[in-house]
Symmetry: D2
Subunit: 339 residues, 4 copies
């Protein structure tokens, strides 16, 4: 249930609504809005809450039943786009963001060269894996703390905020100390304990869609984070698993316009994991931009043949330049802001 | 195996190669090329054909083993793009084509109004179903011959060539009499008898990808047509079946750049069937254009709510105008010709 | 809509109901029942048919609205199992049937030896492909008419009825002349023109599930046949296409108990195509029997290594003996009749 | 790489092999075998290890290169079945185990009644969820510690060991204190930090297959546990996500005979989650037994309509009795031991 307050509702009136919610054993969520305050209610398992309990209170304009199981992330509850700002970079609400960098941080030289290159050609945020969840226990698992420090060094040098994956609660505090945006990998999309811990944090989170997650399940996973009070969630489409093996995953662009109607959260696309084939990355980055998403995330490596992970999908430096040159007019043509 | 002739090979030399192929019990396929003639060989089940049998003949420049099971449709055999021309409209090789019209032809008024509208706003070809394969035997199956006649009337009035589905060999001759391009629906992609019959015809064919067909299987289905001598095949991606039910199908744009490398045939995208949701059609048309395909096919209806088939995915007239306005700069930005 | 007649309804009363249906522009289908006659009505596109139109007629016991789009194949319309009898072999209603033989008929020796062997070890019906739809146009397409004749010869020698695939309407009459049961392959499940032609025939049909067909679509495809008057349809589960590539298809046994509730048609399972791996065929035959289906279809070859098609999934003669020995107690334990 | 020692190799000889492995910077894994000791080597990222380094040592019989990325769980490395024994119950190597109980522990009465009933009718182990990962943050998440205590009470009363899900590392120690077997849910199959923590424990683990995991990925996930020294891993097939929505998941029985050849670990099947439809549970339990797996896990509830989770797939008490009566002859007919 959602309580929409009048534009000129007083602080006392808002407090009175919150008290009533708490008194009923439920949880109140203040929903930030440009025009007015709204208060979401969760915890109502019976489904029998009476609108009249709230509509009689002072300053209340409207009481709305929310029909979706994902509540706080839905447009029903918050109609205007969420814009996330981190280190001077905006994502969402018409601001397009390019996140680029290596799959794994491998060395100072590799991460610095890549960061300088992508910055120079217009990237807004640096990506790079320090903790790498890998299918096999015998594969390279990342440089860990050393990798985080190299990313921080690259941030200092280039001014770009950094996004890196957090793979478990044990390393969350450490990763959060260095990262500007915390990435949740596809395989952790329904790692609910990790999602809850992220909900307690006040840091932006980028939640990748699981390889077999429906859009509903993805939104519910985001709801886990938001329900704990962290509203800064970015959704990232990175391909789903289908019968087709020509590409590593099937990038599901078709859901994006519908997802846009369902949620106010920013949406980005990862064409690198979404296809796993370097040939397809730039065309899919263009395609994603043409659907008017809020950004892309791509893998770039100085020498993909020697990459310790995901070499076949990493762009070379010249390829990244081409990508940036080609998506810019598409993004601008769509009326989005591309700094 | 592929025999590449020298640029200045004489007609006699070409004939000699053909004779040798026939003498070995195999089939020769002349491959049209801008620069030189090439001759594909099929029917070699043993796989033991000796290149030396041909390299010694006059005028032969090169003898190439073709590694793919799809031979004649592969870039290995014919490196330059196939361009299909029909009624003054070109598809492929940099020519972008918009096919638009109703899912089913329902009445003279409906098809004429739609044809006039899409023509006015830049469509190149008129689509419309006269024979409709339907999941249930109790659903509307199309106006059949009457529908074909209405399409022909619309062609006369607008000058646009028409594309319509042929659903079986029994009606093939009739449909071929009216249609400029014969469409094979997704469920008939592996109707091999129908494909063979189309191979005997000298009319362009648009082959839709089956809902669970891999790219390899799709190319093999095209090979069925080409192996019988009809090189005018257009491939149409229209979504695959996955676990996600938010959209009717999952439009698989990620394979397109790779498919482009695999085959010389023109490729178009159908965002209407590919998503089944009107909200997603225009964004996916833009996305398809951004991948540099050779065209799109979309469903347009004067009043989607009353459509006898596929109403939820049909664009209204104003929506089609928006689509055309939005894809034009993307197509042109990609260096393609958009008449 | 379904009109259930009283047990003692007279021929005149039944005729009166039929006449009323026809007078309304609809189609009447007599539904064979052990106890009483029922009459299904199709063609009612408006959905507004009034039960009262029929309940007032003499001899009418009940008028039932049928909620499913598949009507005549549903249990709602015909509660008791359909039993199909062919050449002395019964399928359905507690009668378990083993169909065995080579994927393709390759030679007299191969088909005769296989037929004798499977007959000796308890098979009830001989399978064998004469017309083979193949993914590539360059693969072996079957012995065609010669193959049909060899199957007929094997029938004469062993007494077993034969089941073979019909791949198009052009060869339907020829195949129907030789076959006892006409098999529709998975890729033709929605070849509606072929289904309609089979509906006109009075021969049992075995309809394989398409690789990406939902159970609903499969039942609708069966409805195409039954709606034309041919009630002798057997459904065959043969695996669906999923992301898992360890097996050729994913045999979907989990739907069978639910399918059983939805339809009165006999159901068989093909573990050969359903797994594509000889190791898995016998275990899946046992598993299928344990779900209480009405039969299995398996591929057997004297020398799988030399098979012209599907060698990796064909059982050797000793493997077939093991299979028969192992499924017999499971079938009998399930209370089914296994001749 | 795998070092197979001679039957009569001395402790010193084994120690010498271990020392050499450690000296090379690699990890040695003693592989328990009925006849002889074998030592697996992991950590060899270069792939250039020379067999001669070990074959020259005393007591070494054979040095085998292991070709699969999953090493310690493969049959190549350990040909004989792993048998897991817990609280007097054996799983694997011919011992069939029935795990039954409620989806969630809801109350003392519910869990005690269920435990008594399933015990009485032949179940070997009690299942029940105390920590429940749920798709929505607003759903019932289990009784947690209170649930674990109720399970322990039921164990005391019935003598059955208990299996329950552990959802994160934070609660692992607590769950491990009460549980006899730790279950890893499908959504946590690639929660590598949790897998590693389980590898350090000396408790049996049941690892469910992820909804979109290939068999290879599943075995790699098991390898994460085994590589840390915990060899007591049971694999549980519980259905994969496909396009078919008639069942909640598609139970993938077809892979089981192949999986059996790939790994020595015990394999069980969960037909409750695998179908999500109570109608299908008992038939799929029979089918699983007919494939000769090592056990099944089923959900039973005194009153499924009131269940707080997964009611539509829970068996009633009489249904469980039927299931047990029906699978017993199938298990015994397959030559397995069913206590």
């Amino acid at each position: 249930m959602l309580i929409v307050m009048q534009k000129d509702a007083s602080g006392d009136q808002i407090a009175a609504v919150n008290e009533k919610i708490v008194a009923l054993g439920l949880t109140a969520h203040a929903i930030p809005g440009a025009q007015r305050v709204a208060i979401g209610i969760t915890g109502n398992q019976s489904g029998l809450l009476e609108p009249g309990l709230f509509s009689c209170l002072g300053g209340v304009q409207d009481v709305i039943r929310v029909s979706q199981p994902y509540k706080l992330v839905s447009r029903e509850v918050k109609p205007d786009d969420t814009v996330i700002e981190v280190g001077g970079v905006k994502i969402g609400g018409g601001h397009f963001c390019v996140m680029a960098g290596p799959c794994s941080v491998e060395s100072r030289d590799q991460v610095m060269r890549t960061a300088m290159h992508v910055r120079e050609h217009g990237a807004h945020m640096l990506r790079g894996g320090a903790y790498k969840p890998r299918t096999s226990p015998y594969e390279f698992q990342g440089l860990k703390l050393e990798g985080l420090k190299l990313l921080a060094e690259a941030r200092e040098k280039t001014g770009m905020p950094i996004i890196t994956e957090v793979k478990d609660t044990a390393t969350l505090a450490q990763v959060a100390e260095y990262a500007d945006v915390l990435q949740i990998g596809a395989r952790n999309m329904q790692n609910f304990s990790l999602l809850e811990a992220l909900g307690e944090l006040k840091k932006p989170v980028m939640l990748k869609r699981g390889p077999s997650a429906t859009v509903r399940e993805w939104l519910m996973a985001a709801e886990y984070i938001v329900a704990r009070g962290n509203y800064q969630v970015i959704l990232c489409e990175r391909g789903i698993r289908t019968f087709e093996t020509l590409t590593r995953n099937t990038l599901d662009l078709g859901i994006l316009p519908i997802l846009r109607e369902m949620t106010h959260l920013p949406i980005v696309v990862d064409p690198s994991h979404g296809t796993g084939r370097v040939t397809a990355v730039t065309p899919m980055a263009r395609a994603a931009a043409a659907t008017h998403v809020d950004g892309i995330m791509v893998e770039v490596h100085p020498d993909p043949k020697t990459a310790l992970s995901d070499g076949p999908q990493a762009l070379t430096f010249p390829m990244f330049e081409t990508l940036m040159r080609e998506i810019r007019p598409i993004v601008k043509g769509g009326g989005q802001h591309f700094a």
